[in-house]
């Protein structure tokens, strides 16, 4: 198994290098550093100010080859934007935001908790509700409850998340006035009041696709031979669901769950923006809108690392959930 993990890590490393290169190309060849400067300094500044900004932020260097050095010199290739881009990312030196010069690592530290406070309850609540409801629906398979649930799930899946958010804010925040429409507080005593609405909406928005997915898995398991055997032996429907079907359906559930967990740290782009939660999702959206290359590349880099890490983790957890799985 270890050989497999090392091999996957190596593949992952190559993927990350590729991601970083693509990101660099997108920012510096499709756009150009002056655009970053213009967004940071403002539209009305003089060309000298843009030049100074580029110099202050190290964007005045050549992209790939530095002609100031002789052909034989290694510095010709290392004293370039591309080389420093790779060096900074691979050494986890994220630097400062291009938009406002805030240290990015500080931003990540500040944003991770609010993101987790939102995404973790949504993830956990969504998981519990969707598994419980899917089991229930599978239990009532072929009844009107099952059919109604499928219709409702398909309807729920067809609605965009944004609509859930806007309608949720309107109904619960504005009309019923149960919770604040948006906002956040660092005070643990009151933060739940701000999180209640986005968490409720987040769970609700995830129920449609999740219930459909888990219901399909449970129904597939429900028709297997071991279920028939258990039933023939007199096992009750409830016990069958909880002790046999759920346990055997763990593999696809694990795949979905383990690949999701790492991304809880990077937050939710839409919810954080609409609910004013100062997390990493909101930070990413801001970086995109503000041409903030240094922040965006950090978020994409972290996203790529998490994705690769999650995939390896999923494979490893397979061996735990199902002893028949061998990694080699």
């Amino acid at each position: 198994m270890w050989a497999y993990v090392v091999r996957r890590l190596l593949y992952g490393f190559i993927t990350v290098l590729g991601v970083l290169f693509l990101l660099f190309l997108l920012f510096f060849t499709v756009a150009n550093p002056e655009d970053i400067a213009r967004k940071a300094v403002g539209e009305k500044a003089s060309p000298e100010v843009y030049a100074q900004w580029l110099e202050n932020h190290g964007y005045d260097r050549p992209l790939f080859v530095n002609p100031e050095y002789p052909t034989s010199s290694l510095a010709r290739y290392t004293d370039t934007l591309l080389a420093s881009h790779y060096h900074d990312m691979l050494t986890f030196d994220f630097g400062r935001s291009d938009a406002d010069d805030t240290p990015i690592s500080a931003r990540l530290r500040e944003g991770a908790l609010p993101s987790l406070l939102l995404t973790f309850p949504v993830f956990l609540g969504g998981l519990l509700f969707s598994i419980a409801l899917s089991l229930l629906i599978a239990l009532f398979r072929d009844t009107y409850i099952d059919r109604m649930a499928v219709v409702l799930c398909v309807a729920a899946m067809s609605i965009a998340t944004l609509l859930y958010i806007i309608f949720g804010q309107f109904l619960i925040g504005k009309v019923l006035r149960w919770f604040p429409i948006s906002g956040f507080s660092g005070d643990p005593a009151v933060v739940w009041r701000f999180l209640a609405l986005p968490v409720m909406i987040g769970i609700l928005a995830s129920l449609g696709p999740d219930i459909r997915f888990y219901r399909t898995i449970f129904l597939e398991e429900a028709h297997r031979d071991y279920v028939r055997t258990a039933r023939a032996k007199g096992c009750g429907e409830g016990s069958l669901m909880a002790n046999h079907i759920l346990r055997n359906a763990m593999l696809p559930i694990l795949t979905r769950v383990v690949t999701t967990i790492p991304f809880l740290f990077v937050g939710s782009l839409l919810s954080e923006n609409f609910f004013g939660i100062p997390g990493l999702g909101a930070l990413t959206v801001e970086a995109i809108n503000g041409n903030d290359f240094s922040t965006l590349r950090t978020m994409v880099y972290i996203g790529a690392l998490l994705f690769i890490g999650a995939q390896i983790l999923t494979d490893v957890t397979y061996t735990i959930a199902d002893p028949r799985v061998r990694l080699g």
Binding site: A31, N32, D35, R38, A40, V41, G42, K44, A45, S46, P47, E48, V49, Q52, W53, N56, A99, D100, D101, T102, E110, G111, L139, F140, T143, Y144, I145, M148, I166, Q169, F170, G173, K174, V175, L176, R177, W178, F179, P180, I181, S182, G183, F184, S185, G186, V190, R193, F194, A196, E237, N273, F274, F275, G276, P278, A282, L283, V285, E286, N291
Partner: protein, 662 residues
């Protein structure tokens, strides 16, 4: 869940603040920097404008805009010297102190070693100083920072007429390049070693002269913005971002009515009253109706201002309607519900909301690339008539009705209302819709019905915009349809902002849509947008149309530095007539701001430019608490209904299940 819901409220604030004068505002975009020499966005000025004070400011209520003294004792007159220099004499108000800050401990520890350049004596000898008085040295330091290339102030070029300003900048840069140990010193020491700016002449602790090489009356407007506000050298040296200290750009230290006590750009920024701030003269009674009875009271009225981050407009507006923000712009989605027949809807009026309208000093326009061989100057009379024809078919009233909810004053020239040179009676003959005349002009231009008479091919033009949203595309289509009505085929080229900028820089465009918001209320700040030395492709300047007309340039040169006298008015009229004829722009509208004010917020007067207005605002917290309670009673019955419905659905299901399966 039922229990949770019954205990809930949508109030996002601590209940202790209910009875306090706390102003709540939403901020969609975080300031990039709070360094007054660099901050140049509305979001940053909302903070810096209330923390820092310049020598001058604007009268809060007078229109047209009028400069009044702030830290200075008066608004100086320009005095010309025989050698051609211009001198402005300023006298600082005595006894102005900075807000309390830890950086002033540095003043004590370093006062001995930097005595030659900064010899401030702590205000409370014997104890650790937390503030000190403002002197002309602080103003000198602020001007030096503006000139410092490393500070990268976006408006530095506007001070280039101060004698020795550029020289100081060059000397500083050369010395830094030559001497690494010099570059490692704190900025105030570097400035002292390089020598001051010759034109910033300190007479004593409270008096200074600014000496300019050439007339530049607009300088006074810049002094009313936070850029030149006095900054303590201690703050710049101390707040260096090292060893856990914040950077100066995130930790402002000024003399204004408020201090920043919390600065979380992602969530919350808090301003509180600066106890060091002095008494401030009020506008005359009756000058602004609500302020009348309070004339003579101590400013500011509000205790605290909380800026809460709201990245999206819809939730922010929802919270304003619930009384949790004290003022708001009107979002597109709710405009028709809030404004009916250009007035507040009866529902809003019944709630006591107020509508404040103000025309912003700005303009939106369609521009032609005057370097283009088809629509520009190289096409000569053909091009001119083509531009005139295209101008004649853009119906601004219809545009305003369709896309602006009727907001915006139709523009006839670049100069907006409220500024010297704006003539409300002036009607640009090419901004009145006349399709027949436009067709005739097209024939005269050699494009009858939009067909090039020389080649027999249809005329095809490109229209660049930096906005790819569907609303922007619809708006662009409105213009394209108008041009199509006289046979001109215009292709929309909607690109990203970066690509648009690239095209503008390279001159690779024919038509574009753009806008400008003034820095200061002077016609020069609009008419310079068409002066040839500011051409975008030639110099990277703001003359995006690349308009170049020697007569216009000469008139501009004479107009720009003149006082607002009759001759200046004549010059502006002459420039307008050139623009009327040449049509480098199709003027669209001067933006009009509609903002809503809650019933408990008083002394509000929209300003249109960055301005420290918060010191005038007042709040009636009791009225606010009463109305908030009235507007925000939670409706709990749906929670019970939902619970009942769930039971109604699930219970028969369970019965069915047991009947069929068990």
């Amino acid at each position: 869940m039922l229990q949770v819901v019954s205990a809930c409220s949508n109030d996002p604030y601590p209940s202790d603040d209910q009875t306090r004068k706390v102003l709540y505002r939403a901020f969609p975009e975080a300031p990039k920097t709070l360094d007054p020499a660099v901050a140049y966005t509305t979001s940053a000025h909302a903070i810096t404008g209330n923390i820092y004070e310049g020598l001058l400011e604007y009268d809060y209520v007078a229109r047209p805009y009028q400069l009044v003294p702030a830290l200075a004792t008066g608004v100086p007159e320009a005095v010309s010297a025989p050698d051609g220099t211009i001198r402005y004499h300023f006298e600082l108000r005595p006894g102005v102190r900075y807000a309390d800050d830890a950086c002033f401990e540095l003043s004590e520890s370093e006062s001995s070693k930097s005595e030659s350049s900064h010899s401030e004596i702590p205000d409370s000898p014997g104890s650790t100083p937390t503030t000190r008085s403002v002197t002309t040295r602080d103003l000198e330091f602020s001007f030096q920072r503006l000139a410092d290339p490393a500070v990268a102030s976006p408006i530095a070029q506007n001070f280039a007429k101060i004698r020795g300003f550029r020289q100081f900048s060059a000397n500083l840069e050369q010395r830094r390049e030559r001497d690494a140990s010099f570059a490692a010193r704190p900025p105030h020491e570097q400035y002292a070693l390089v020598g001051g700016i010759e034109g910033v002449h300190l007479l004593n602790e409270l008096e200074l002269d600014l000496v300019l090489d050439a007339p530049y009356p607009q300088l006074l407007y810049w002094l009313a913005m936070p850029f030149t506000a006095p900054v303590p050298w201690e703050a710049v040296a101390y707040y260096d971002g090292e060893e856990g200290r914040p950077h100066f750009r995130d930790h402002p230290v000024g003399t204004g009515p408020f201090v920043l006590t919390r600065y979380n750009k992602q969530a919350l920024m808090v301003l509180e009253q600066n106890p060091r701030w002095r008494e401030w003269p009020q506008p005359a009674p009756g000058h602004i109706a609500p302020l009348g009875p309070r004339a003579g009271s101590r400013l500011p009225f509000i205790e605290r201002v909380e800026y809460r981050r709201e990245k999206e407009a819809i939730p922010a507006f929802g919270k304003f309607l619930q009384g949790y923000y004290d003022g708001s712009a009107i979002i597109e989605e709710s405009f028709d519900r809030v404004i009916q027949e250009d007035q507040l809807s009866s529902d809003m009026a019944e709630r006591g909301m107020r509508l404040e309208k103000s025309v912003e000093p700005g303009i939106y326009y369609l521009g032609f690339n005057m370097d283009d061989p088809v629509v520009g100057a190289p096409a000569g009379e053909r091009g001119r008539k083509l531009r005139q024809a295209m101008s004649l078919v853009i119906d601004i009233d219809e545009l305003s009705r369709l896309f602006l909810n009727g907001r915006g004053v139709p523009a006839n020239s670049p100069v907006p209302p409220g500024l010297f040179g704006y003539d409300p009676e002036y009607r640009n003959p090419y901004r009145e819709v006349d399709v027949e005349r436009a067709k005739q002009l097209l024939i005269e231009a050699g494009y009858p019905g939009g067909i090039d008479a020389e080649t027999g091919r249809p005329l095809k033009l490109g229209f660049d915009t930096p906005d790819t949203t569907s609303t922007a595309q619809l708006r662009s289509q409105f213009h394209i349809d108008a041009w199509r009505s006289i046979g001109i085929d215009v292709e929309l080229r909607a690109t990203t902002y970066n690509q648009f900028q690239e095209k503008m820089r390279n001159g690779a465009f024919q038509l574009f849509r753009w806008g400008w918001i003034a820095d200061y209320p002077d016609p020069e700040n609009f008419l310079f947008l068409l002066e040839s030395s500011n051409g975008r492709t030639r110099s990277g300047g703001p003359n995006t149309a690349n308009f170049s007309n020697a007569e216009y340039d000469a008139l501009f040169a004479e107009m720009k530095d003149r006082p607002n006298d009759e001759r200046r008015g004549e010059l502006i009229r002459e420039m307008q007539s050139i623009l009327e004829r040449e049509r480098p722009w199709i003027e669209l509208y001067h933006p009009e701001d509609y903002s809503l004010v809650s019933p408990w917020l008083e002394n509000v007067k929209p300003f249109g430019m960055s301005y420290p207005m918060l010191k005038y605002y007042d709040i009636d917290p009791d009225e606010r608490a009463r109305l908030r309670a009235e507007w925000n009673q939670p409706i709990v019955w749906p929670a019970y209904a939902l619970a009942g419905l769930s039971v109604l659905i699930v219970v028969p299901g369970i019965f069915t299940f047991f009947r069929e399966r068990v």
